[in-house]
């Protein structure tokens, strides 16, 4: 009897043994390995965004996401009370997240390691954390509209963060290892590691000090004039480097979610407006370059001028004026500009405008950039030519208009604007951005003559004496134009602008200020001029550009008495 029972049991055991070892053996072994094997992603550190001097504008820090296993939280209310003050969150909201049957639930994201340390010390059951990264913008809203921002997953959603996502992100690594029930790594088990590739850092052309002053000065003026918005561009005309690109209102990239989309974008590139009088620079440069006039050429400007079916006036009514070409620029005469432009005709004017980069991409490849608009010459109506000549009926963004002045500043050679100076690879090698494209638009002599005329604008007889900087030769042009709204294809509001350069005889800096829809004040000289002066003054000091010590030419603005 006993023998039979023993035999039976042994047979069952033996059968089971065969089943486990021979039949299911392989499957079970691999299942066991699967249970032991863990693959953990090694996050790649996101590259930094630096200013031209190497100071950080965006860095990545270690952080923790707080998670909860709701089934292990015995008293959600009490736990929430303890977490509340550390997280700076409402305990009631936290309690809600801790109550339920879910085994995994995010309680809070992006905690600082110190905050997690404090929570860990409380030894709260069911509260865990996972490592993650936190994007920090140490300078706050400084250059925020250039730098951009990242979303909840840490990927770039705006600005350089978005445009250079691939370079910044790097490639995450992977570690595969066997681990025991306690979570410890089994030392003798399989173990393979693929290292993470750190992201590439981006060095911008932005100088954060100039950027700061630009942002401050612009914000104050926008608030003072109760304007809708404003943009400011500082450029080095010789390299095309954008040293500052400020837009107001701006946003805090650390709290991008709470900012409106239009404030997160970059108005200096996404918003287009009619250049207005600042465009006269292109027209007059074209006329001079074609040899049809010089700064001394006399132009008799009537009180009104009819072209096509339209009667043109100047901003302030006047009788017949006897202006030189320099006077046309200094007084910003619309009619004088039309009369000068007629010396070269519409076809040539169009050709020059295109060469100055109107209606062309800036080359910055910035997300959401608008190229502006100029109708094709073949589509021009009889009134198109006169209006385009003095800056209406075409649209530009702020960087494009700064680039036009930079071309004159750089002796007639247009250097494509750039925002990124270099990529810094994880191993520290610096790969400089490709040389920007440079094209000659007007001759050196033309550029010099135009600059001399721009100086007369800032003189006492011009429209912007408030832009003058004591000791320096400054040239610039005011603009007060109607804002062209591409959506309704109509005029909507006013853009007051001032774009200038210094030192006028050997320009090293161009500053372009535009203020959209001001409600207090209206003219480019009074609104843009002081902002230009403040920013240019600082930039000259910051870049250690001394005055040239030469004196401005005194061009006659009128003729014949």
């Amino acid at each position: 009897m006993l023998l039979i029972v023993t035999g039976l049991v042994l047979t069952i055991f033996g059968g089971r043994l065969v089943q486990l070892q021979a039949v299911q053996g392989e499957a079970l072994a691999s299942e066991a390995l699967d249970q032991r094997l863990r693959t953990q992603s090694i996050p790649a550190g996101r590259g930094m965004i630096l200013d031209a001097g190497g100071d950080a504008l965006a860095i990545t820090m270690e952080a923790r996401n707080l998670t909860a296993d709701q089934t292990l939280v015995t008293d959600p209310q009490a736990v929430a009370e303890q977490l509340g003050p550390i997280l700076g969150a409402d305990p009631a909201v936290l309690a809600e997240r801790l109550t339920g049957e879910r085994r995994f639930m995010y309680v809070a994201k992006g905690l600082t390691p110190e905050a997690w340390d404090r929570i860990a010390e409380l030894r709260l059951p069911g509260i865990f954390s996972e490592p993650t990264a936190r994007r920090v913008y140490p300078a706050g809203d400084l250059a925020a509209n250039v730098v951009g921002f990242v979303g909840g997953e840490g990927t770039g959603l705006g600005g350089v963060e978005y445009a250079y996502e691939q370079e910044l992100a790097g490639t995450p690594g992977e570690q595969t290892f066997e681990r025991g029930p306690g979570g410890r790594v089994i030392p003798t088990g399989a173990n393979s590691v693929t290292d993470a590739m750190q992201g590439t850092s981006i060095r911008l052309t932005i100088d954060r000090d100039i950027q700061y002053v630009a942002q401050q000065a612009l914000a104050e003026k926008v608030a003072e004039s109760r304007a809708d918005s404003g943009t400011l561009v500082v450029m080095d005309p010789r390299t095309g480097h954008i040293l500052a690109l400020a837009t107001v209102p701006t946003f805090n990239p650390g709290k991008a979610a709470s900012a409106t989309a239009s404030n997160r974008g970059n108005r200096a590139l996404t918003d287009v407006f009619e250049p207005g009088s600042t465009s006269k620079l292109m027209t007059l440069a074209a006329v001079i370059n074609e040899g049809k006039a010089n700064p001394y050429t006399s132009i008799t400007v009537p009180s009104s001028l009819t072209r096509g079916d339209k009667k043109f006036h100047d901003a302030s009514p006047h009788g017949t004026l006897r202006l030189t070409l320099a006077g046309v620029m200094a007084k910003s005469s619309n009619m004088g500009t039309i009369l000068a432009a007629e010396r070269i005709g519409g076809k040539k004017l169009y050709k020059y405008l295109k060469k100055f980069g109107i209606g062309e991409p800036t080359g910055l490849d910035f997300p959401g950039e608008s190229t502006g608009f100029i109708p094709k010459h073949s589509d021009w109506s009889p009134t198109s030519f006169p209006t385009i000549a003095f800056g209406q009926g075409l649209s530009v963004n702020a960087v494009q208009s700064a680039s036009v002045f930079a071309t004159i500043a750089n002796d007639g050679v247009r250097v494509q604007p750039s925002l990124v100076d270099a990529l810094i690879l994880p191993d520290g090698t610096v790969s400089a951005a490709p040389e920007p494209e440079a094209t000659r638009v007007v001759s050196v002599s033309t550029a010099k003559q135009v600059r001399a005329m721009l100086e007369s604008v800032v003189s006492e007889g011009g429209t912007a004496p408030m832009a003058a900087i004591p000791g320096y030769r400054v040239g610039g042009k005011t603009g007060t134009a109607q804002e062209y709204d591409e959506k309704c294809r109509c005029y909507n509001g006013v853009v007051a602008s001032f774009i200038g350069m210094a030192p006028a005889d050997a320009p090293q800096l161009v500053v372009a200020v535009s203020i959209m829809n001001p409600r207090v004040g209206r003219y480019g000289g009074e609104l843009g001029g002081p902002v230009f002066k403040r920013v240019m003054t600082y930039a000259l000091q910051a870049r250690q550009i001394p005055p040239t010590g030469t004196s401005s030419p005194t061009l006659p603005l009128t003729f014949g008495g």
Binding site: P113, P138, A139, R208, Y212, Q541, P546, P547, G549
Partner: protein, 271 residues
């Protein structure tokens, strides 16, 4: 090691050494039993059977050796395991330490970055009584020519002056040198130590001219303010070039050049 050595020793020694001791009786029996076979070869090498007894005697040794090996092996494993475990502990301890330190480093780096941001720099500069200059002015060296039109910066005296620390010494130095005007104690050579010089200058300024600390900001003494700014630019240049022009007496020339009309050359841009 020792166990195997012992084993080797015993092989050659035992037959020769133990044979004479108790061989007689054994030899007799062996000869009797094996008889005919033994006759053919009556040479001494019949010894070969004798190992039976010595073998028995060596068993104890062998057991001892094996036990020794076993114990040594186990101890070895124990030692290895212990050291492995200890290594693991050290690793995790160091990893923890590393994590803490890297956290600390990050926190500090973040704090430095925030403190170095232009906004907080401006705040701190203003707290020191500095104001942005509205007229960029440069001092050309050598020669001490002033380029630009110096003009007092407005709002300079808004903040109460405070005693300057060595950190502020670029300005202090300048104030000191410019106002005393007679001695330029700093002739920087290869071993020029800005920190030491700064500290000395700060002390000198505090001791000799207690009022001068205020002069940096006070618009009531525009001449001094002017020189402070200009000289600060000189200091900067001097530090930039290895063999600086600092020893040159250009700064004194400057003081004579600057009339009170040139007041307020606060050419110390907020960095």
């Amino acid at each position: 090691m020792s166990a195997t050595a012992r084993k080797h020793e015993s092989v050659p020694e035992e037959p020769t050494g133990s044979l004479p001791v108790g061989a007689e009786a054994a030899e007799g029996t062996e000869y009797a039993t094996r008889g005919a076979r033994g006759l053919r070869a009556s040479r001494p090498h019949l010894r070969m059977v004798s190992p039976l007894r010595p073998e028995r005697a060596s068993r104890g040794v062998f057991a001892l050796v094996v036990t020794g090996l076993l114990i040594a092996g186990m101890v070895g494993i124990l030692v290895i395991n212990t050291s492995l475990a200890q290594g693991a502990f050290t690793v995790s301890e160091l990893q923890g330490q590393q994590a803490t330190l890297s956290q600390q480093e990050q926190t500090l780096a973040e704090a430095v970055a925030a403190a170095a941001a232009p906004e907080s720099l401006e705040e701190q500069a203003r707290a020191l009584g500095m104001v942005p200059s509205e007229t960029p002015v440069f001092l050309s060296l050598p020669g001490g020519r002033v380029i630009g039109k110096p003009k007092a910066a407005p709002g300079g005296s808004a903040t109460a002056p405070r005693l300057l620390t060595p950190a502020d010494a670029t300005v202090t130095e300048a104030v000191d040198n410019a106002s005393v005007g007679t001695d330029l104690p700093i002739a920087p050579g290869v071993d020029y130590d800005p920190a030491a010089v700064d500290a000395a200058a700060a002390q000198a300024a505090a001791a000799n001219n207690p009022g001068l600390a205020a002069a940096v900001t006070a618009s009531t003494n525009p001449g001094v303010t002017a020189v402070a700014g200009a000289a600060a630019t000189v200091v900067k240049d001097a530090k930039n070039s290895e063999n600086s022009l600092w020893g040159d007496a250009t700064v004194i020339d400057l003081t004579s050049q600057l009339s009170s009309e040139d007041a307020g050359l606060v050419a110390v841009p907020v960095p």
